[in-house]
Structure formats: structure tokens, C-alpha cells
């Protein structure tokens, strides 16, 4: 394999907390080392992890039907979401709970999807963060269409499409890259390669690096260490600026690892090779940022204690809110099927609300 050789992912922050030499492929803008930004990145990754562990616990106690954990992927998501500005719009899969946190989506609202009280949970326009999309790759086309809209509005905004290594095999992702390149749409394809698509390893999806495929469509690509929040932020900032400036789409592969199961219904012990999890535990995105912050003296122990307390409070708030959530009233099932009245919906709404004896369907 020569053409298909995987290059080492670009990184800025090593697992031991040291900063790498600045390279021309991925420069480190000095403002990324501002103490306030480092603290915000640390706080967001920690809070996102707390949302994740709380959601897993809530599923285990029967409060959620399912949870798809992003454990281990916090740097890829938090870094990329921090790169967005007020003109940009993100299109997530169902695993972007850390990105959702950065976009200000209340975790309690987000968990409605997994509890079964809603198929959505937030107002996309308020957060510039689309609803979670479960059908693999479908949202990547939405991102490209949104970006084509920004060209027509001359807004200067860009779209960012999140998807995983498995979704790259979907036709929609291929079509999205065709549409994006031929229209020069301002969109960033942000692929989190977390190693697994449920039980299928990456070599079931591709024989060449994902970046090589993307380059074939005619766009710049970058392969980064997805557990390095500074690399994720720097690469996505560069990509969004490239897209917003009219230079077209960019593809980023963030090499990371799904530390948890695919979902709470999955059992990775059936397919994960021994030692893999242990290796990736040494690559933890939060640990390495903590080491950097300690080394650079941008945070002391009291900061980490404070963040942990905030995370614990968040966990308690989520737990109480989810456990106390009432099931929605039956009649709400009929709302919002259409934006305008529809005879079949209204007929069924009436039949479901009437007792059986009066011609309804409910006993």
C-alpha cells in the first residue's frame, strides 16, 4: 500500500500535555493558548463527559430507552464546535452530544429523544445546531444544501457536517461531496473516525484513507488527532475560514476512538480486540489538556475542583429532570405532522380522543 498509506494524524497537543512543534500543515494560532479559551475547552469537555456518563447511568436504570455515548470523542466535538461563529450552522448525527453542549442545547432537552418524549428536543435555529439525525449520512446533504443557501444569501456563513467512519460508505455522503465540490459550497465535512461502526472496523468501509477519497472529489483535506482539542479547533477554524471565504468545501478526518459501546444496546466485548481500549485510554483528550494547563500554569487545583463540582451539579440536575419527566399527553401525538390542517390527521385526532362507545378507537 503506497497510495493508501495513512499519514500520521496532525496534532498540536500530545498525550503527555506537551505542545508539538508548529508545522505548516497545521499551524497553532497563538490565541488558542489563551488561558480563558483553554479553561473553556476543559470545562466543556468535562461537562460533556458528565452528560454522557449520566445518560448511560439513566439508561441502565430504565429512564432512557437508549444512549449513544460520545465517550472519548469530546476533543473532536468540542474543538470543532468552538470553531463555529454566529453565521455557521452544524448538522450532527446522533452522537454529537458534546458538540450540542457547546452549542447551548440543554442536555435534558437532548435526552428527550432517548427517553422517547420527542423526536427532536430543541429549536435548531436558536442554537444553529440541527436536530440529531439517525439515518446515516442524510444530514450531510442537508449541510451542503444549507451551504448552497448561504451562497445565495451571501451571508458569509458556512455549514459543518458531522458524520462517522461508517457513514462514509453511504451514498448520501458521496452525493454530498459531489454537490459540495461542483457548487463550491461553504461546508466543512467533519468525519470522526472512531474506529468502529457498531462491530465493523474501518477496513470494512475503506481500503484507502478517507482523506484520499475526499481529495478525489477535489477539496483540501486534513487528517488530525481527534483526541487533541487544539488540533480539532485549529483545523476546523482553518476549514471554516476557507469555506466562508468562498474557497469551497474542506474535509477533516478526526482520528479518535469510541471508548464506549455503539449504544447502550451494544456489547463491544464481542468484537473489540484486547488491548485496544487500554491503548486509547492513554490518549484521553481531557487528561492531556489538564496536563497542558498545569504545565502552563493557566489553571490550578481549585479550578479543576470547581469544574468537577459544576459537572456533578449538572449530573444531578439531569438525573432529577429526566426521572421526574412526565409522559407527554396522548393528544400531542397529533401535533405538527403538518404545518397546516390535514383532514386525515384531524379525523384521527378526533377518533383517538373519543371513547369507543362514541365511535372512537380507545376502549
Amino acid at each position: 500500500m503506497t497510495e493508501g498509506e495513512h499519514t500520521e494524524p496532525l496534532h498540536l497537543l500530545a498525550p503527555d500535555g506537551s505542545l508539538s512543534e508548529a508545522s505548516s500543515a497545521l499551524p497553532l494560532p497563538p490565541q488558542l493558548l489563551e488561558p480563558d479559551l483553554l479553561r473553556a475547552l476543559f470545562r466543556d469537555m468535562t461537562m460533556a463527559r458528565r452528560v454522557d456518563t449520566e445518560a448511560t447511568a439513566l439508561q441502565r436504570t430504565g429512564e432512557l430507552g437508549l444512549w449513544s455515548s460520545c465517550l472519548g470523542q469530546e476533543a473532536a466535538q468540542v474543538g470543532s464546535a468552538h470553531a463555529m461563529d454566529e453565521r455557521d450552522f452544524a448538522f450532527p448525527t446522533y452522537r454529537e452530544s458534546a458538540a450540542a453542549w457547546v452549542r447551548g442545547v440543554d442536555p435534558v432537552a437532548l435526552l428527550g429523544l432517548y427517553r422517547g418524549t420527542t423526536h427532536g428536543g430543541w429549536v435548531p435555529d436558536e442554537h444553529r445546531f440541527a436536530l440529531f439525525t439517525i439515518v446515516l449520512g442524510a444530514q450531510v446533504l442537508h449541510a451542503v444544501g444549507y451551504a448552497m443557501g448561504q451562497q445565495r444569501l451571501d451571508s458569509g456563513g458556512a455549514a459543518i457536517a458531522y458524520f462517522g467512519d461508517g457513514a462514509t460508505s453511504e451514498g448520501d455522503v458521496h452525493e454530498a461531496m459531489v454537490f459540495a465540490t461542483v457548487t463550491n459550497a461553504p461546508v466543512v465535512f467533519f468525519c470522526q473516525n472512531n474506529g468502529w461502526a457498531i462491530s465493523e472496523p474501518v477496513h470494512r468501509q475503506t481500503t484507502v484513507p478517507f482523506t484520499q477519497r475526499a481529495a478525489g472529489y477535489g477539496m483540501p483535506t486534513m487528517r488530525i488527532d481527534g483526541n487533541d482539542v487544539l488540533a480539532s479547533l485549529a483545523a476546523t477554524q482553518w476549514a471554516l475560514e476557507h469555506a466562508r471565504g468562498g474557497s469551497g468545501p474542506v474535509f477533516i478526518e478526526a482520528v479518535t476512538y469510541r471508548m464506549g459501546a455503539h449504544t447502550t444496546s451494544d456489547d463491544p466485548t464481542r468484537y473489540r480486540p484486547p488491548g485496544e481500549l487500554e491503548y486509547w485510554a492513554t490518549q484521553d483528550p481531557i487528561d492531556r489538556l489538564r496536563l497542558l494547563m498545569i504545565n502552563r500554569e493557566v489553571a490550578a487545583e481549585d479550578f479543576f475542583v470547581e469544574v468537577q463540582a459544576q459537572a456533578d451539579a449538572l449530573g444531578e440536575r439531569i438525573r432529577a429532570a429526566v426521572r421526574g419527566a412526565e409522559d407527554p399527553e396522548a393528544g400531542l401525538m397529533f401535533d405538527h405532522v403538518y404545518a397546516s390542517d390535514h383532514a386525515q390527521v384531524e379525523r384521527d385526532r378526533q377518533r383517538w380522543s373519543a371513547p369507543f362507545a362514541e365511535g372512537g378507537v380507545m376502549a
Partner: protein, 330 residues
């Protein structure tokens, strides 16, 4: 308002032009629709007059067309997409059914997707495989979609404007065998009330013996069958559904309570087709008025056949007449 004789293609073109004029958010997108004007020339001249940002050719990827249209709608546009032929909508079926139809519901009403999917449908033009399908039941079966089909040039002119003005996604099925039929088109602005009225069925003629329900390409067939039946002394009411979702069935129930007999005619396969739903509803609502079983005149349970068979496959005037005569004898 001025009236002009036009083909259905001309009526659609004029309706699209009116919508593009009326609302700057309206975009047309699809394969070969810009420079060529569409393989049926429905969008002829519109790219030239409205520019390549509003009327544009897409790559040849139907799921991509629907998926990017959804993104454009999320950005505030009102895309009207053309699927070149009925048989090519299926690569886009996933985006239509799992994304387009559900998004208003999923977003609790915050993000409507006002997208029109224009699809030339039905047979009768001697086409090759995948160019003569009648896929309406799939879409009518899907909550969140509206489905509409014109039967003549004037209906097409008005209907396409109503579909574009609608806040919901609309599957707009164009009966391609009627594309070149001419009718008087009443040109003019469609008011909101006019647009709302397009979502109802319309009674084309009233007769006391039997209620004939049709839509799209079969409306002309049934009107001509009704003329032939009149010569046989059978007086038929003919109702054009127009809107397949929602279904406006009250006028059909009212008519069947008068006539006591009903046939439903469509090209699509009879099994679980629109006729099955309409027959079931007529039996539920009009059981004690019925003089005979509701009859369906529709496609047999075979794939759309090679075109040399289609005169046997498609409901013809003779088949409609024969079916009605049979119901009258029942």
C-alpha cells in the same frame, strides 16, 4: 385575469414563472432543467429569465437533489425540485420519507420544509422501463407529505402555485401523457383562498346513477367514458380528487348517498392503491346507501409492463364503461 389555451406543459411553465416572480425564495432545481428546460420543457426559459442561482441544474443524484433541497429549505428557501421521471424518485425515497416528511413533526413545528417535488408520472406514452410508474400510494401512505395531481393545463397552472405556496412538503405528480393536452388557462394571481381551495376534490359533472372517482391522467379517460355512458343512458357523476393527501372525500360520500354506486379509477396497481382506501371509506360512510359493491378499475398486480402491453394494462375508456355497466347491473 386573462384566459389562454395552453398545454399542461405550458400551464406548469406559466405557474412556475408566476411563483418565481411572486416569491424570491422560490428556487427550481433538478437534472437538465436549466439550459435544456427539462426533458419535457416544463422549465423552458426560466433559467434565462431568473438566473442560474434560482433555476439550476444539479448533479445526477436524486437523493442529493432532495437532501440539498432540504438544506436549502432550512436556510429559508422554497425549493421546487424536478425528478426527471417517476421511476427515478426511488433513490430519493429515503430523503423524502425519513427526512422531508418527518422534519416538521420532529422539530415540533419550528422548521417547516416547504419543498415541492415535481414528478412526471404514469404511462401511456410508449416509454421504456421505469418511465411509466404510478408511485402515488407510497407518498399518500406517508404522514407529513401532501400529494397533489392535476388533470389538465388549468389545474396544473393553479395547482403548482398552490403547492409552492403551501408550508408543507408536496409531492406534485404530473400526468405526463396529458402534458400536451390543451385547455383554457385562467392566468392571474392565485390568492391564499384560491390556493386553499385547490386542496379539495372537484366535481366535473353530475349524474344520478353512479359516482366515478378519478385523478390525474384518468380524469380525461373517465370524462370521456361518462360521455359514452350517457349514450347508453347511464348518468355518471365524475369527481377529480386533485389532492391525494389530504383526501377530500365528503363530496364523494354526498354523491354516493345519491347514486348508491361508486367506481374508483387509477393506473396504479389495484392492491393497496388509492382505490382501496377510497372504497373502504365509502363503505364505512355510505354502507346503507350502496346498491352494489364499490368497484376498482386499476392496474393488475404486475410490474408496469413493456409499452406494447400498456394498452391492455391501462384503464381505457372501454374498461371504465364496462366496469360501470357491471356495477349498474349489480
Amino acid at each position: 385575469m386573462s384566459a389562454a389555451p395552453m398545454t399542461m406543459v405550458g400551464g406548469l411553465n406559466a405557474g412556475l414563472r408566476a411563483s418565481l416572480d411572486h416569491d424570491p425564495r422560490v428556487l427550481l432545481m433538478g437534472e437538465d432543467i436549466a439550459t435544456l428546460g427539462g426533458v419535457f420543457r416544463v422549465t423552458d426559459g426560466l433559467a434565462k429569465d431568473f438566473g442560474d442561482q434560482r433555476v439550476f441544474d444539479t448533479p445526477l443524484a436524486e437523493s442529493g437533489i432532495l437532501g440539498t433541497a432540504i438544506g436549502l429549505a432550512m436556510a429559508g428557501f422554497r425549493p421546487v425540485v424536478e425528478i426527471q421521471f417517476d421511476g427515478f424518485v426511488f433513490p430519493a425515497f429515503d430523503q423524502i420519507v425519513t427526512q422531508l416528511a418527518k422534519h416538521h413533526y420532529r422539530s415540533a413545528g419550528h422548521t417547516p420544509l416547504p419543498i415541492v417535488v415535481r414528478i412526471p408520472y404514469g404511462g401511456g406514452i410508449g416509454a421504456v422501463e421505469h418511465h411509466s410508474e404510478s408511485p402515488e400510494a407510497y407518498f399518500v401512505h406517508t404522514p407529513g407529505l401532501r400529494v397533489w395531481t392535476p388533470s389538465d393545463a388549468n389545474q396544473a397552472y393553479l395547482g403548482i402555485q398552490a403547492a409552492i405556496a403551501c408550508p408543507d412538503p408536496v409531492i406534485f405528480l404530473e400526468p405526463k401523457r396529458r402534458y400536451w393536452d390543451k385547455a383554457e388557462v385562467a392566468l392571474g394571481t392565485l390568492s391564499a383562498d384560491d390556493a386553499e381551495r385547490m386542496w379539495s376534490s372537484r366535481t366535473l359533472r353530475t349524474g344520478s346513477d353512479i359516482t366515478v372517482v378519478a385523478y390525474g391522467p384518468m380524469v380525461r379517460t373517465c370524462t370521456e367514458a361518462a360521455n359514452a355512458l350517457a349514450e347508453l343512458g347511464v348518468k355518471a357523476t365524475v369527481i377529480d380528487l386533485r389532492s391525494l393527501s389530504p383526501l377530500d372525500l365528503d363530496p364523494i360520500f354526498a354523491s354516493v348517498r345519491q347514486t348508491g354506486r361508486c367506481v374508483v379509477v387509477h393506473e396504479a396497481v389495484e392492491t393497496v392503491g388509492l382505490g382501496a382506501e377510497i372504497a373502504a371509506r365509502v363503505v364505512e360512510e355510505c354502507f346503507y346507501s350502496l346498491e352494489a359493491p364499490v368497484q376498482r378499475i386499476a392496474g393488475p398486480h404486475v410490474p408496469y409492463p413493456p409499452s406494447r402491453f400498456e394498452r391492455h394494462y391501462l384503464p381505457s375508456i372501454d374498461r371504465v364503461v364496462a366496469g360501470v355497466v357491471q356495477v349498474m347491473a349489480g
